[in-house]
């Protein structure tokens, strides 16, 4: 058994961590937070140049061909920051959708431009309030023209192309590839301003179907794969929060002793550590399932989604708590992670959705 990343990938991880700790500082995120910019184009360009966006895209389509384990490793490091870049939207969702469902021509047209950073992607699933559900999809394509309302779309305001979930002429759920130039988009205010979010009002917008209609199953397949990659970001973010809390608890004194010597703090952070390690171990299994395209992938995805979402929410809120008063001020970074935790934990569907799905998958497995 070898249930760990290879030395090459660990080296990639260390390099990524070093790069991001210098280039993707909270100060960078704050430019988006304060509304100065909708994403950090410089950072995005640098990430593209290192080949990260196309890490899991095969070399024939312009990717780095590092495979999914490589993308997982990078996801954890990106999650460790609150980098204001459309990495998840582009690499885990748009590129994955095209890889999963696109025709050969579509792959050749789009993937190289995604991999080199010249095209930003996004995924337009939701139509207002609600967790992923085929019954909630009203968007419809008629004669290659998409109509409907989609919101919120993460990175929708800055993307060049969207993968849109809509009904085709036959009433089947399908994925559509929608170039966004000229499409009516409105920016939305959200709890995580370090990512752009937009609303699409589609009125016969020109789009092409991604391969053949795959129905809701295809959407779910995309969500499953993305859930594993998101989980690595969540694990990275949880770890960042735990490290922040730990450092603060070692350095901050009250009653003449480091606050980290009080069991109220020690045991709180031990609980965060436990949640993080469980999530990390489940994420490793997800990475294996993704790389091996295992039949266990859906179950692995739902499992890690549940534990990683729990871990990041816990780690980010208890990081604030450990910091005390300073922790809920705007100028201290704790809240950036708390906001991001909730954003990552609701995009792709919230915990209630994934818990229910997890049990359905257990039932299916047991019935088999």
């Amino acid at each position: 058994m070898n249930f760990d990343f290879s030395d090459d990938l660990k080296q990639l991880r260390d390099e990524a961590r070093r790069f991001l700790s210098e280039q993707a500082t909270p100060a960078v995120a704050r430019r988006a937070l304060d509304g100065q910019e909708r994403y950090d184009a410089t950072l995005w360009k640098a990430i593209a140049e290192m080949g990260w966006i196309g890490a899991a895209i095969p070399e024939e389509y312009g990717g780095a061909g590092l495979g999914y384990e490589g993308l997982c490793v990078l996801a954890e490091e990106i999650g460790r920051t609150v980098a204001p870049v459309p990495f998840a939207s582009t690499a885990y969702l748009a590129a994955e959708a095209i890889l999963l469902a696109g025709t050969e021509a579509q792959k050749r047209e789009w993937l190289p431009r995604i991999a080199d950073g010249s095209v930003i992607g996004c995924f337009a699933l939701s139509e207002g309030t609600g967790n992923p559900d085929p019954r909630s999809i009203r968007a419809r394509a008629v004669g290659g023209k998409l109509s409907g309302v989609k919101y919120p779309v993460t990175d929708g305001g800055i993307a060049d192309v969207a993968i849109v979930v809509a009904h085709d002429e036959a009433g089947e759920i399908a994925l559509y590839l929608l170039p966004l130039k000229g499409v009516a988009r409105t920016d939305l205010k959200t709890i995580d301003p370090t990512h752009n979010h937009a609303r699409f009002d589609l009125d016969a917008a020109g789009a092409e179907k991604l391969g053949a209609a795959g129905g809701w199953d295809q959407v779910q397949r995309l969500l499953d794969r993305a859930a594993i990659l998101f989980a690595f970001e969540q694990v990275g973010g949880s770890d960042a929060c735990l490290q922040m809390a730990r450092s603060y608890a070692q350095e901050r004194y009250a009653f003449g002793r480091p606050i980290g010597s009080f069991q109220a703090i020690k045991h709180k952070l031990a609980d965060v550590y436990v949640a993080l390690e469980l999530a990390r171990s489940n994420a490793y299994f997800g990475a294996w399932a993704l790389a091996a395209d295992a039949s266990d992938l859906p179950l692995a995805a739902a499992t890690v989604r549940v534990s990683a979402t729990e871990a990041y929410h816990l780690a980010s809120k208890e990081n604030i708590q450990t910091h005390g008063g300073i922790g809920f001020t705007w100028q201290v970074d704790c809240h950036l992670f708390y906001r991001r935790a909730k954003h990552l934990g609701t995009t792709l569907g919230g915990a209630p959705f994934w818990k229910d799905r997890l049990v359905s998958l257990i039932e299916t497995r047991n019935a088999a």
């Binding site: 609600g130 205010k189 709890i191 003449g256 708590q321 609701t346 209630p352």
Partner: protein, 410 residues
């Protein structure tokens, strides 16, 4: 057991009701006020107007001595007034600290002529007071404050920094505790003053919270002179005076925080889970039941406190449970409600977001609820030590001169 007023209470309640009916707007809808981004000039004007009206009608300082414009009423009357006022839209947020904490401390320690000068203007809302206790290095260790005062002739000269001062920028006066002797243990070297907030050398900066709110301030002191006549209590007795102030905090009734469980019920009727209203889902029902039981438990705990008050008893540290339970409940309800909304749960714009963005606002404000005014950890300590009688934490700073106590780098 009954829920009825005594005849005296009923008479008073009727009096309050007719005052409020004549002078204030009933709370109409259920839409909560979310973003409290501090009080602007117009807000201050409305607060002052309302306070003067209350004072003129005899509803300000209900429990205070008559010679200061009070009624010498029992605390239960204050509760009844608050219950009734809560049904009306009235301007709030300017006088709670001054009238609830500062002036009572003055009444306990200031000279008669000072009380003549300060109490009535405060009661009528003409002068606003703030409380300057917390410091960056203190946090939960309130007494570990470092702002120092040195005697210079008949004055004391204050240097240092206070933090988390609500309404400092709107205040005319403040009460402050400072260190006058760093060579003795923590609690022994403190002295208490009141001061003019317009004194030279005071600089006030608002604190920007993660929720966007700016309720609190940092207050910087550079060679601020305070006459020794404005000292409250003896030199070195500042901690004892502070306890008087803090004891008055205990009775403060927390505002109802939203979303509460009723808002979650409403949300669960609106959003769907697996094609059905969320309220049909067992997991959602279980959460609602648990939070409902907790909310009701707090409500009836308050009724028990009110009963004790009406018998002339003094509520004790057991009241710490309200904030402890409410703060986490708020955070958890907010978080869960957002999860039910799915991806759109991140929307905060009150025109677009479900339930006017109430859940999102609470997600961002609840972390401060778990910290400000006694963190979860401090409240559990209070319950363990002062209600259950368990031993205190080991105190390494006990009997150690303050300037020898380890203080770390943050």
């Amino acid at each position: 057991m009954d829920f009825n007023d005594t005849p005296e209470e009923a008479t008073f309640r009727a009096e309050v009701r007719s005052f409020l009916q004549a002078n204030a707007q009933p709370k109409a809808g259920t839409r909560p006020v979310l973003r409290q981004s501090g009080i602007d000039a117009e807000g201050v004007r409305r607060c002052k107007e309302w306070q003067a009206k209350k004072a003129d009608a005899g509803f300000a300082g209900l429990t205070w001595p008559k010679r200061f414009g009070g009624r010498e009423a029992s605390p239960i009357m204050q509760v009844i007034y608050n219950q009734e006022e809560d049904n009306y839209v009235v301007p709030k947020g300017l006088y709670e600290i001054g009238l609830g904490m500062c002036i009572p401390t003055m009444m306990a320690y200031a000279k008669p002529e000072q009380l003549e000068r300060y109490v009535k203007p405060a009661l009528r809302g003409e002068e606003v007071w703030c409380q300057l206790f917390s410091e960056p290095a203190g946090g939960s260790d309130l007494a570990a404050l470092r702002t120092r005062a040195e005697k210079d002739g008949d004055d004391w000269v204050i240097n240092g920094q206070k933090i988390w001062t609500s309404g400092a920028h709107l205040s005319d006066f403040g009460i402050i505790v400072v260190r006058t002797d760093p060579n003795v243990p923590k609690h022994e070297g403190l002295t208490f003053f009141f001061l003019d907030m317009k004194s030279p050398g005071i600089e006030i900066r608002p604190i920007h919270q993660m929720s966007g709110a700016r309720h609190f301030n940092e207050v910087f002191f550079t060679d601020v002179r305070v006459p020794d006549a404005q000292r409250l209590g003896a030199v070195g007795q500042g901690w004892k005076v502070s306890l008087t102030t803090l004891m008055n905090e205990r009775l403060a009734v927390g505002d109802v925080q939203r979303p509460d469980v009723d808002d979650l019920v409403e949300l669960a009727r609106t959003v769907t889970v697996d094609g059905q209203p969320a309220i049909r889902n067992g997991a959602v029902r279980e959460r609602i039941a648990e939070w409902y039981a907790r909310s009701q438990g707090l409500k009836f705990t308050r009724f028990r406190t009110i009963t004790a008050l009406s018998r002339g008893e003094t509520p004790g540290p057991e009241n710490s449970i309200h904030k402890l339970v409410n703060a986490s409940k708020l955070q958890d309800i907010a978080s869960y409600g957002i999860d039910l909304m799915g991806e759109a749960g991140i929307l905060v714009d009150d025109e677009v977001a479900e339930a006017y963005g109430m859940f999102q606002a609470a997600l961002l404000s609840s972390p401060s609820s778990r910290i400000a005014g006694g963190s979860d950890e401090i409240l559990r300590n209070i319950i363990a030590e002062r209600v259950l009688g368990l031993p205190g934490d080991i105190r390494v700073d006990k009997n150690v001169p303050f300037n020898k106590v380890p203080s770390g780098s943050r």
